[in-house]
Assembly symmetry: C2
Homo-oligomer: 471 residues x 2
């Protein structure tokens, strides 16, 4: 953590614990600088962070004051999706969202890309450069089917942090979490099968189910505690469900982390009904709490949890390095991988293996966790400031995604068309439902730097929503 | 072409046209050196090439003589596979073959890896290094779903050589020819459908069919002219076949190039029966003839040919850069790609796009074409020398794969186990059949450098086959 971040954290804590009261004048920049032995500009930067988070307000020629606090917006209530298996639709809407990526002018608040501009990524670039300069032949040759062993060994080490003790041989590399999940489902399911999912659920996963001809049954999900175990149990009693697909740690899009108790309970349910769990842990390492929360896979005793993850969110999407720990489905996953995809790019695997091995990965993730937490707070403040009053906003416990629920009358699918013309891309909530629910919701990517341009974008977004409300 | 290759070619031509007669003494090294204005060592290298190809024999203290020519071994006859749709088997055997890749001591004559050690690849390494050193963010960010535009534009240019006029928008990048073919089949077929294939057919494609639950009907195929159109027509009349999968240019494993007439005839057949053609062109640019033969796709007027290819054989496997030109199935291919795989690694796409753009690709492929032709000739000579007499050997018209048919009594599945212990990997013919036919055949990868070690390996291979014959 940098000095100003440290100082900002300290001051925020004092405000939150009531040491500085609402409306009270804060110490001057000069006095804080002397008191903490830091430069004037460090204090100014710290105050800027707090101002962004709307904890303090500047008054010209008087200094900074503790802001009057609005009550935080409520979190969204438990979702209420249709309670039967449905075919996933919404492909055209997802395609529109994806196509915005090729428009260089578009501000991409609708995607899930992480920030790849931090200096802690430099050792990764260096390693990529080294592989090319030394013409390391392994980088241009065929990979083995399971993926590079040196990488699988490093992943096995990382997985210990999530409570999972596995060998490199029990891990299969895939070109991301998405293809890993695709292999997991191919290994377990047949076309026509039913999988239970959280609702809302990430649109990529939804389209994956559609592509594989799998029906989805959407289960009510709470934005703070996760999937409703009662509703899941009811569904399991009623339908021939093959597995449940969960993002239990730093959920996409809701940001919750299921408690250990609930993770164990969902596994017990899976055991009782003899189904599998597809566990998507892609944001798991970006949990605000440290050490990171345990995975469902860590409690798995009979190989029924297929854990999928990748370095897409923690390091960089362009690596296309993900993995699957498929438990008892290892052989089937390997066959499906050979049949459908073949081997992966070795150079990015080699680079990221060295990045972890030399300790750079942990340093980088530690930094990104902090950055994303700050950004989530800042964007939450901006949403409160610029959006209409009667909204619900999630309080993500990790990752960098924010989910906003607007009044029922707002149709974000329409609003997103208007925004597209303003070169602003957001993800309308309907993409996160098999049947197009949540049209009054949106997901925001808070990995984008909270600078003036992006503050302006959030303001424009708020205005577009206000117009939609009035229309 | 280097000087010694040029000289070797010249001398080979004189021998083949009868200018130098069998048993005749060839000019001394010194006189050739003076005559052609090249160094002594250049002449020695040229003679070494001719000796490897068994065109000449050295006699100690007398010089080189034109070798006495054995009649070349016959080519394999038209194959006779089972004439009904079958489920593909042989996965365990393929897995054994693949697992040999991770054994560093194994000599990999069974795989399909190209030679990636030539100096003409240096500009590719340089570009990879440049991308990393300049921290080009596009290299670590999400790719667009279709793949990098700059690469698709270069591929569109290359495809003109195969007679295909397409825009970049009609091309979709995939992580190799294999996943491209997987997407092609997913876009057209349902589980349980039937696809007609050449017999023998590449084992990777066979397992792809199995992985997608597609049945294969194997069509008799001639090692010089390709798939039997008569047999294909009969099959089309008899079975509800969805498409035919062909490797018409530099076939894997047989090495033939279908004539233009036959390519047009198979397309006409596809039109008449309203089926699609899956055209695998992965070795197409390595045809011995130049300019390269046209693709079936180049005659396609109604978008029923899905052409798949990659830079795996022409540049390097580790790039994992392939593509598909899916004709009328473009939208379906894009959806299937998103659902099953997602986006690809951008860094290798950017590197290969620059490699083509700057003219290095053409230079490299020109060189590799020549090298592989020489190596095919050399390995063919060694096979004639060290294998039993009554064999059939293909005469590949491009690529670098050789197919050898041994007497019926030899079981190459057994022999390959013996060879495995000697750290020699070969591909037994049975992998190239849905139902395990061709156990008396093998495929050899002649991209391996024809040095003394590899000559010794071919000798050991011949000995193992001889023992199997005697047993």
């Amino acid at each position: 953590m940098t000095r100003y971040q440290h100082l900002a954290g300290l001051l925020a804590e004092r405000i939150q614990t009531g040491l500085y009261l609402e409306g009270e004048k804060l110490p001057s920049v000069r006095s804080l600088s002397q008191q903490h032995g830091v430069s004037i500009s460090t204090v100014q930067q710290a105050y800027q962070v707090l101002e962004n988070q709307q904890l303090i307000t500047p008054q010209p020629r008087s200094g900074y004051f503790v802001a009057h606090r609005k009550a935080p917006p409520p979190v969204p209530a438990m979702s209420r999706p249709v309670q039967r298996p449905v075919e996933v639709t919404q492909w055209d809407e997802v395609l529109t969202l994806l196509e915005a990526r090729s428009d260089k002018e578009m501000v991409l608040f609708g995607g899930g890309a992480p920030d790849i501009t931090q200096a802690t990524l430099k050792p990764l670039w260096r390693e990529m450069s080294r592989l090319a300069q030394h013409q390391v032949l392994d980088a241009l040759n065929y990979d083995t089917l399971n993926g590079r062993r040196e990488l699988r060994e490093q992943i096995a080490r990382l997985m210990l942090d999530g409570g999972i003790a596995l060998t490199a041989d029990e891990i299969v590399i895939a070109s991301g979490c998405h293809p890993a999940m695709s292999l997991a489902i191919l290994a377990v399911c047949q076309p026509g099968d039913i999988i239970a999912v959280e609702s809302p659920s990430y649109y990529g996963t939804m389209q994956l189910l559609r592509g594989l001809d799998i029906k989805a049954i959407e289960i009510p999900t709470d934005s703070e505690t996760g999937i409703s175990l009662e509703a899941l149990e009811l569904a399991l009693e009623q339908w021939p469900i093959k597995g449940v697909l969960l993002v239990p740690t730093c959920n996409n899009p809701l940001g919750f982390i299921m408690s250990e108790t609930r993770k164990k309970a969902v596994l017990a349910l899976a055991q009782r009904h003899d189904i599998v769990i597809f566990e998507d842990d892609i944001y798991g390492e970006l949990a605000a709490e440290y050490p990171r929360p345990s995975t469902i896979k860590s409690y798995d005793i009979d190989g029924r949890v297929l854990l999928c993850s990748s370095f897409t969110k923690t390091v960089a999407p362009g690596l296309r390095v993900g993995w699957i720990a498929p438990g008892r489905y290892l052989d089937r996953v390997i066959h499906k991988k050979y049949a459908a995809i073949g081997t992966n790019v070795p150079s990015t695997q080699l680079a990221v293996a060295a990045f972890i091995r030399d300790g750079h990965y942990h340093r980088h993730v530690r930094r990104m966790r902090q950055i994303y937490q700050n950004r989530l707070e800042t964007y939450t403040c901006w949403v409160r400031q610029y959006f209409p009053c009667d909204i619900c906003v999630t309080r993500p416990q990790g990752g960098y995604l924010l989910w906003v629920e607007l009044p029922e009358t707002v149709d974000m699918v329409c609003v997103s068309r208007t925004l597209g013309r303003l070169k602003i891309q957001i993800a309308p909530g309907s993409l996160f439902s098999a049947s197009g629910k949540y049209r009054n919701c949106l997901r925001l990517n808070c990995a984008l730097p909270p600078n003036d341009e992006n503050r302006e974008v959030i303001k424009q977004l708020g205005e577009a929503i206000e117009s939609a409300l009035e229309a």
